[in-house]
């Protein structure tokens, strides 16, 4: 199934989700509101996306953009679920109940970006020690111990 077929498939089954679908660089992207994320993810799982490949986030200034990348054995194309959460209140529902694979992935996003996943069974830091201060993949993270690389290029 290629992107266009996936779009048709999505539109026929979920007319409401259809306008949210876009494709770029050969990937399907579905942008949803944070409140709708869990429902949309559940729908995608029903559709056949049995694997949660990656959970990551981007620091977009005022908001954090969350990217969930889904895979399916039947539908041979990837799909990204995206949603933005405000920086001052970074909270989103966890997808652990749909895909247990979200367990460590969401912990990592929590560790590095400080986004809280509601409903996650064990939300702790994973890569950094528990007593670490700050979330270091945020663009405004500063650490005195870091030596900046000289700007040759």
């Amino acid at each position: 199934m290629n992107i266009e077929e996936l779009r048709e498939h999505l539109c026929s089954r979920y007319p409401l989700l259809c306008p949210l679908f876009s494709s770029e660089f050969g990937d399907g992207t579905l942008t949803v509101e944070p409140d709708d994320l869990h429902r949309a993810a559940g729908d995608m799982k029903e559709l056949g996306f049995s694997r949660l490949d990656v959970v990551t986030a981007l620091d977009r200034g005022e908001t954090f953009e969350l990217v969930y990348r889904l895979e399916s054995a039947e539908i041979r194309t990837g799909l990204s679920l995206r949603c933005s959460v405000p920086r001052d209140q970074p909270r989103i529902s966890s997808l652990f109940d749909l895909w247990p694979a979200a367990d460590w992935q969401e912990r990592e996003v929590y560790d590095l970006f400080g986004i809280e996943f509601e409903g996650h069974p064990d939300l702790r830091r994973i890569l950094l020690p528990d007593d670490w201060v700050g979330h270091l993949l945020r663009k405004d993270y500063v650490d005195d111990r870091v030596v900046k690389r000289p700007d040759y290029i």
Binding site: D53, P100, L127
Partner: protein, 381 residues
């Protein structure tokens, strides 16, 4: 065989006291944790009731470093992610950048990438099998497997001068063409390998001790493997028929004829054996690729010295020796990426240990960890 923890009756001593749970810390420096992993194991007698991996002891902040490097300067950093299979991280990163910047790679470069990465798969699997042999006391297997690995590493050394950190696959192609006589040397290694692997199969996997130590240990069901995001031989050992080389073919893989070895029991034995036979399939792919490869350029023409892809983000993934290795690159239009994220298969596979270990003994915990084949450069990044 796993013990059902729930149904065990508490062991009582002469005075009627039940044996209390003991917490054992394994690692972060332990010869059988395959790196700097720490596992906090709760044990009841000899049986693990709960195992909690603690990772991050090799967290070097590569993703943060990428944000202050140009696109080409990141390639050496990707080497140091999965240091047992550096070529894969090179390739996955390059594919994501090429997708982002719409670069077409010459066909010869694609063939060379396939050849080197399949060689890398052999080298990486040999490390995995060898160290799981060492975990179960079969040190001979480790030495044998390392000997095979050394042959492959010699080929890489001839190819790019490095034994471990290659930086050979670059955005737009590969660093340089194959040296003279390299294909013959490669063919010589690959031709001899299947017989050697068969011998290893008999030596280790046919051995009663290894069968006793590996069979029925750390059984992972196919449904669990999919739901927990396991990939690569870890999932295929459970019978999940999913290999990106065949199911979502990239590069020139559709032109080759190869099989995907599958296990059915989902235990450590099947995972290890899948790896061993995958090495034979890699030999088949390399032989076909060496037959098909044509002369030509190995790097995209008109490649800019300073890459500045347009705004947007791209995700691409390949089948590495450990599973689905994905790279997410976001660009803001400048010469440095806005965000780079590595989806490492070892990270996702390692998350299973808390699920697989309960009910096994401590010595089996080591076997289970080895059968998941974690590489901590990649887990912690």
């Amino acid at each position: 065989m796993a013990v059902d923890i729930e149904s065990r009756t508490p062991v009582e001593d002469a005075e009627g006291r039940t044996v209390e749970e003991l917490v054992v810390n394994i690692g972060p420096s332990h010869p059988s944790t395959h790196g700097v992993c720490r596992i906090i194991a709760h044990i009841d007698g000899e049986i693990v009731t709960r195992a909690e991996p603690v990772i991050g002891y090799l967290h070097r902040g590569i993703e943060k470093m990428c944000e202050n490097r140009t696109y080409l300067q990141i390639v050496p950093l990707t080497d140091r992610l999965d240091y047992v299979g550096s070529m894969y991280a090179n390739w996955a990163y390059c594919r994501a950048v090429e997708r982002l910047a719409s670069i077409r790679v010459p066909e010869r470069a694609e063939y060379i990438r396939v050849i080197t990465c399949e060689l890398q798969r052999i080298a990486s699997h040999m490390m995995a099998i060898g160290s799981s042999g060492a975990d179960t006391g079969a040190f001979t297997m480790f030495v044998w497997a390392f000997d095979v690995r050394e042959r492959v590493v010699e080929l890489f050394e001839e190819l790019c001068g490095a034994r471990l950190t290659y930086s050979y696959v670059r955005p737009g192609g590969v660093a340089r063409d194959l040296p003279d006589g390299w294909t013959d040397a490669c063919r010589a290694v690959v031709d001899r390998l299947p017989a050697k692997i068969e011998e290893m199969d008999r030596l280790f996997f046919g051995n009663t001790i290894a069968r006793g130590r590996l069979k029925g240990v750390g059984v992972l069901s196919a449904d669990d493997a999919v739901a927990w995001g396991a990939s690569g031989p870890t999932a295929r050992g459970s019978g999940v028929d999913w290999d990106l080389r065949r199911d979502d073919p990239y590069s020139v893989y559709p032109r080759f004829d190869f099989d995907i070895p599958l296990g059915d029991a989902g235990d450590a034995y099947d995972r290890g054996r899948c790896r061993l036979w995958e090495a034979v399939e890699s030999c088949r792919i390399i032989t076909q690729a060496l037959d098909q490869i044509e002369p030509g350029p190995v790097h995209a023409e008109g490649f800019p010295r300073l890459l500045a892809p347009r705004q947007g983000d791209a995700y691409d993934r390949i089948e590495s020796a450990r599973g689905t290795l994905g790279v997410f690159v976001a660009s803001d239009g400048s010469t440095r990426p806005y965000r780079v994220k590595f989806r490492s298969p070892a990270f996702c596979n390692l998350a299973l240990i808390g699920r697989l270990a309960p009910g096994h003994t401590i010595s089996d915990l080591v076997v289970i960890l080895g059968s998941l084949d974690p590489v901590f450069g990649e887990v912690d990044r």
